[in-house]
């Protein structure tokens, strides 16, 4: 990361450049863009529904689900006219089934719904607010941090502690900045917490990167201050409660059209927050396929050049995920075949979120943001000029992946395979750049020890063990942590994982640091040292959640 003057300079130049950026351009031509999104969404939805009857069924299903959502799960951000709108849709659908000569009416209803959705998703954007908000965000975050760390009000103006000290960012950010001027950058982070969206917004700004278009959970817009920032930082809104096909297609069209227009875009390819706490091992192929599609369309449009798309995997890491207890319970319910659960809103009150943020920044909880190497859409590495490079260091013409007999052609089955390849590459990268934290290691070790002691129990029975059964000797625990730590460093040598700097300390420190930090603000601590000096837990489910972060490395064999 650039320091001092160079950094400031790069930020300045990037904000200047922002005026010409596609995102801003997009916002200025909002009406036109929205029209295009509506058209694209409608054509996609119609492609997926075989005939008129199927489309009408889809519309009725959407109405039914929306009505159900309104009656059972209302959020504060929901607009007041929601009921009226869906009542009018209901009337239209009724007409459709009773009147004669209604051919084409279903298309009008579809357009009405899609139109509403697109407007909901895109929100409002004010270019001048954008500049202001960007500086406010950094200022605010930085000040908050200083006030809490260096104590006392006067320190609000001190520059001793920078946010960078707490948020460790690794990766070739310089390269990404360069690539952003040569093509379209798509950032693809792992997703653990609603905080991710705020964090990412800040990171993009603080690294002096151009603006990224990205989606954030609608519930974040509940909170006035954050809503303001999110709106201004270019976030569009995603409503996780709406799972109907019309909504998801509209959302996909929005993001992919923006991508095609050259907007640097960020989305979470896992689709939603990792329920289990594992790093994503399966990504949403539908979302990822829009990247391949956009790249092909870019090449189609231009006979010889065609704007290139670069993907950047990002792994985020926390000691603490606010919504962990809720997420893991959802995961367990889902795994136990309970297919439907209500999307809860953990960030419902301003009080909850602000106290959390305050704690988060005052008590100090490391966050790491590992930015992977930028790649082309097939997963090949790229150089500074944006050329794709093969394993032997030779240049590859990315265009060739999309052509047959000398011309670009549209082959969806081929792109499906490419999407799979990209997905595999991203998953591999997420694991490689993931930085193991002390808290993950202690959680992993404790859970695996208990699992081993109760080998005959399946997961659900294990999680139901009474607290009296859950004790580990401190010395025994340290031994296991030492083994796992050693193994992690071996994996690191082989390039399969990364570690946080605090893992360089001696064993006792690591164990203490890990126990102190793992899920530190939960009411029930996932791991703690009892008065008798034994390791114990107050919430095994949540411990399981933090343990899962180190799944997929084959570490359990060593316990």
């Amino acid at each position: 990361m650039p320091q001092g003057d160079t950094k400031r300079k790069s930020i300045k130049s990037s904000t200047l450049a922002a005026r010409r950026l596609p995102v801003v351009h997009l916002r200025q031509n909002r009406k036109k863009f929205i029209k295009e999104v509506i058209a694209l969404s409608i054509s996609r939805i119609k492609q997926n529904t075989i005939n008129r009857t199927a489309l009408i069924e889809e519309l009725e299903m959407t109405l039914f689900r929306e009505k159900l959502r309104i009656s059972q799960n209302r959020w504060r951000v929901d607009p007041d006219d929601e009921n009226d709108f869906w009542d009018s849709i209901k009337r239209d659908l009724l007409l459709l089934s009773t009147e004669e000569d209604t051919q084409g009416m279903e298309d009008d209803i579809l357009e009405k719904i899609v139109g509403r959705y697109v407007n909901e998703i895109s929100g409002k954007f004010n270019t001048s607010h954008y500049q202001l908000a960007r500086s406010l965000v950094t200022f605010g975050f930085g000040r908050l941090l200083n006030a809490s760390r260096v104590k006392g009000f006067s320190s609000l103006w001190s520059n001793k502690v920078k946010l960078q000290d707490k948020i460790q960012i690794t990766g070739q950010t310089e390269l990404i900045r360069k690539l952003a001027s040569k093509g379209t950058v798509i950032m693809l982070p792992t997703h653990f917490s609603n905080l991710d969206s705020i964090l990412i917004g800040w990171i993009i700004h603080s690294l002096g990167m151009p603006q990224f278009l990205y989606g954030a959970g609608l519930n974040l817009f509940n909170i006035g201050v954050i809503a303001y920032f999110m709106n201004s930082l270019g976030a569009y809104k995603i409503d996780r409660r709406k799972k109907n096909a019309i909504y998801t297609e509209t959302l996909k069209s929005y993001s992919s059209l923006a991508m095609q227009k050259g907007c640097h875009t960020l989305f979470f390819p896992g689709g939603s927050r990792s329920r289990s706490g594992k790093i994503e091992d399966r990504l949403k192929q539908g979302l990822l396929s829009t990247i391949l599609e956009a790249q092909r369309i870019n090449f189609e449009k231009s006979a010889n050049y065609g704007k290139k798309i670069f993907v950047v995997p990002v792994t985020l890491n926390y000691h603490f995920v606010l919504e962990a207890p809720v997420l893991i319970n959802e995961y367990l319910a889902q795994k136990g075949q309970e297919r439907y659960y209500i999307e809860t809103d953990e960030y419902s009150t301003s009080y909850k979120i602000t106290t959390f943020l305050l704690k988060f920044f005052t008590k100090g909880s490391d966050i790491s943001v590992s930015i992977g190497q930028p790649r082309d859409v097939l997963g090949n590495l790229v150089d500074e000029e944006g050329n794709s490079i093969d394993q032997q260091g030779r240049k590859i013409n990315t265009r060739d992946y999309f052509s047959s007999r000398g011309a670009i052609n549209r082959d969806l089955q081929r792109e499906e395979q490419y999407t799979k390849m990209l997905s595999d590459k991203l998953v591999e990268e997420y694991h490689k750049i993931n930085r193991a934290f002390s808290s993950h290691i202690v959680a992993f070790c404790a859970f695996e020890i208990w699992k081993n002691k109760h080998r005959k129990l399946d997961l659900y029975n294990l999680l139901r063990l009474p607290e009296e059964e859950l004790f580990i000797d401190y010395d025994e625990f340290c031994k296991v942590v030492a083994t796992i730590k050693e193994r992690i460093f071996e994996l690191k040598k082989a390039g399969r994982i990364d570690t946080a700097p605090h893992l360089e300390e001696d064993l006792e420190h690591i164990v203490a640091h890990g126990i102190a930090n793992v899920g530190m603000y939960h009411a029930k601590r996932p791991l703690l040292l009892s008065k008798t000096g034994k390791i114990t837990t107050q919430d095994l489910n949540t411990l399981f959640y933090y343990h899962n972060r180190l799944e997929g490395y084959g570490l359990e064999k060593y316990i």
Binding site: R394, T398, Y401, S404
Partner: protein, 350 residues
């Protein structure tokens, strides 16, 4: 289907062995073919006599030893070289390959990269170290549109223009279509499959059973014994295939049971010949020395035996054959061992 699209780009074939030549001749019915041979005298023979060894070549086949020219001229290339050479050949071809190329290989063997180890140290061989041919192509080049060709395709029968069929397998439909378009003729039927690894493994694993089949014949045994071998061999292939990443389906098709029956019944098969001569008392070294072309099965037995150990797959035929080939067990002893092998359910994989 006769001549069509002859004006299209030529098709490349790498390797002028008996199968490579047979493939070149089939392709030449629909397209111009550039046949690559490593040895200068083979290229000269192709160019001057329109022959490869004793086999006359179709008039649309031309020979070359220039990989760059071949890669530039052809969009579709069929590598048909022994598994031990494929990596080297692809490596030399790699600088001239582009992501638009389609490679459909016809090699029925495995590639092995032994992990670094101390002398005397026991190595656990896993899928990480053993690659199918399509995986080698992916590793060594930028080509992604990769496929394989497998099925009951005894080279001598193909050259004799007898009717036959094959399977083209690839993750990419366009590769399957392209393979079908190029290979199909009145005498040659082409099926498609999406299970690339499964179909590759069929071709690889059946060679083991073919050696055993030759051995049974060498012992003078009849059709009951062969039928027993083929059906139990099939089950063993399925177990191994599943452990190595294939689906059961491929093994029940033309590339699986089809190829297995052909290779186990035909004296034309090289692997069969190895088994046959072993049973008649020759040593492995003598047999290999006197053979013109490589019998892939011999090496496959060694690799698959190790893999079966790693993945804890019951593979009595492979394991016994390994002992016969490398540990001095006689064919007769091996057979006795197999006949005493504890019984299990006939079919338990469906």
């Amino acid at each position: 289907m006769g001549s069509k699209n002859i004006s299209d780009k030529p098709v490349g074939v790498l390797g002028a062995g008996s199968f490579g030549t047979a493939v070149a001749n089939i392709l030449a019915e629909n397209s111009h073919v550039i046949l690559y041979a490593r040895k200068a005298e083979v290229v000269r023979q192709i160019q001057e006599e329109q022959k490869c060894g004793e086999v006359p070549l179709h008039s649309r086949v031309t020979g070359t030893d220039d990989l760059e020219m071949l890669a530039n001229a052809c969009e579709v290339i069929f590598p048909v070289v022994p598994s031990a050479n494929l990596r080297t050949v692809i490596r030399s071809l790699s600088p001239y390959l582009h992501p638009y190329h389609i490679l459909i290989h016809g090699t029925k063997g495995l590639d092995i990269q032994i992990p670094p180890h101390e002398p005397g140290e026991k190595i656990t061989l896993s899928r990480e170290h053993v690659k199918t041919m399509s995986e080698v192509i992916r590793e060594e080049s930028v080509v992604v549109r990769v496929g394989c060709m497998a099925g009951p395709n005894l080279a001598k029968e193909l050259i004799g223009q007898q009717p036959a069929a094959t399977v083209i397998a690839s993750h990419f439909k366009e590769v399957v279509f392209e393979g079908q378009r190029l290979l199909r003729s009145d005498r040659f039927q082409v099926y498609g499959s999406a299970d690339l690894i499964g179909v590759e493994l069929c071709g690889v694993l059946k060679n083991i059973i073919a050696i055993a089949s030759g051995a049974l014949s060498g012992l003078g045994l009849g059709e009951n014994a062969r039928a027993l071998l083929i059906s139990r061999g099939m089950v063993e292939m399925i177990y191994l295939g599943r452990a190595l990443g294939g689906n059961v389906h491929a093994f029940l098709g033309l590339a699986g049971v089809g190829d297995l029956v052909a290779t186990c019944s035909s004296t034309l098969s090289r692997n069969y010949t190895v088994g046959n001569r072993l049973a008649k008392g020759e040593t492995l070294a003598d047999i290999l020395e006197s053979m013109e072309e490589i019998a892939e099965g011999v090496n496959t037995v060694r690799i698959v035996n190790k893999l079966a150990e790693t993945y804890k797959v019951r593979a009595p035929i492979t394991q016994t054959l390994y002992k016969v080939l490398y540990k001095g067990l006689t064919i007769k002893e091996g057979l006795q061992y197999l006949m005493r092998y504890p019984l299990n359910a006939d079919i338990d994989f469906l």
